[in-house]
C-alpha cells in the first residue's frame, strides 16, 4: 500500500481536505459549489462576508484540492475539484493491495513464531 501511495504522490492528501472543511464558512462554500460553479461575488453574498475573505478561504480550499478557480475575463469562477474528495476514496478502494500487505504481514508473523 505504501508503494501504491508513493506511486500516487500527485494525489492530494486527505487530511488537508478535512482540515480545510473544519471551518464553517469553507463548508458553506463547498456546499454551494457542489450545486455548480459560482463567482467569488456569488459566494460572498449569502455568507455576508467580503470578497477578500472569500478569496482567503478559496486559497485554503485550493491548497486542499477541493476547489479550482480560474479568471474568466475580469471575474473569478470557482468550481469543486473532485480530486480532494476522491484522493481518500481512491486509497480506500484498493482492497486487493490492502490484503496483499496483510497476507505479507501474516507470513512475517508466522515466521517469527517459528524461530
Amino acid at each position: 500500500m505504501l508503494q501504491w501511495m508513493l506511486n500516487h504522490r500527485s494525489a492530494p492528501r486527505a487530511p488537508a481536505a478535512l482540515d480545510a472543511l473544519g471551518d464553517a464558512t469553507r463548508r458553506a462554500i463547498v456546499e454551494r459549489l457542489s450545486g455548480g460553479p459560482a463567482t467569488v461575488t456569488e459566494l460572498a453574498e449569502p455568507l455576508s462576508i467580503s470578497r477578500s475573505a472569500v478569496l482567503q478561504h478559496l486559497t485554503v480550499l485550493e491548497g486542499a484540492a477541493l476547489v479550482r478557480t480560474e479568471k474568466v475575463g475580469r471575474t473569478r469562477v470557482c468550481r469543486l475539484d473532485p480530486a480532494g474528495l476522491e484522493a481518500v476514496q481512491a486509497w480506500a478502494a484498493d482492497h486487493r493491495q490492502r490484503w496483499e500487505r496483510r497476507l505479507d504481514r501474516l507470513g512475517e508473523l508466522l515466521a517469527e513464531e517459528e524461530g
Partner: protein, 158 residues
C-alpha cells in the same frame, strides 16, 4: 441515485507452517490484530475480535506516513461460516471518517500442502462511490460534510 461498482479478486499464499498454525493467526485476537490491523504507517485506535459464527470483529485505525495521513478508518466484520483449520467465510464493511465506502464478501480456505499450507482468499467487493458525475459529487460532498458535522458535534460534548 448512486451507482455501485463491483470488483472481485483472489490472492494465494503458501506458508511453510501447518494449517492449524495459520488458522490460529485468524482465531486468536492478539495474533490477528498484529497482521490485520497493525503495520508500518498504521495507528490502531481499537481492535476487538469475537471469532465464531455469528460473531464479529471491529477495528478502527488510521494511516500515518510521510506521504499520506487518513482520518479514522473503521472495519466491521461478521463471521458467516467457520470450519476450523479449513475455511472462514465472512462479510465486512469499511468506512472512512464515518462514511461507509465498501462492503465485501470474503472467503479464506486453508489447504495442507506437504509441511505447509496454501491459503486462498477470494473477495467480492462493492464500492458505494461510483463513476464521477455531478450528482455523485454532490452526494459525496454532502455525506462528507454530514459526517464532519457529526464528528464536530461529538467533540463539542466530549
Amino acid at each position: 441515485m448512486q451507482d455501485l461498482t463491483h470488483d472481485s479478486f483472489t490472492l494465494t499464499r503458501d506458508y511453510p507452517v501447518s494449517p492449524e498454525r495459520v488458522f490460529r493467526a485468524f482465531s486468536d485476537p492478539g495474533r490477528k490484530r498484529r497482521w490485520f490491523a497493525e503495520g508500518e504507517g498504521f495507528i490502531v485506535d481499537s481492535y476487538a475480535l469475537d471469532f465464531r459464527v455469528g460473531g464479529s470483529e471491529s477495528a478502527a485505525f488510521r494511516v500515518d506516513t510521510p506521504e499520506f495521513q487518513s482520518e479514522e478508518i473503521r472495519n466491521q466484520t461478521y463471521y458467516l461460516d467457520i470450519v476450523p483449520e479449513r475455511r472462514i467465510v465472512l462479510a465486512y464493511s469499511m468506512s472512512n471518517a464515518g462514511v461507509p465506502f465498501s462492503a465485501s464478501l470474503q472467503t479464506v480456505t486453508l489447504e495442507a500442502r506437504g509441511d505447509g499450507t496454501r491459503l486462498t482468499l477470494t473477495e467480492h467487493v462493492t464500492f458505494m462511490e461510483g463513476a464521477d458525475g455531478t450528482e455523485r459529487r454532490r452526494e459525496g460532498t454532502e455525506q462528507l460534510l454530514d459526517s464532519l458535522a457529526r464528528e464536530l458535534a461529538a467533540e463539542a460534548v466530549s
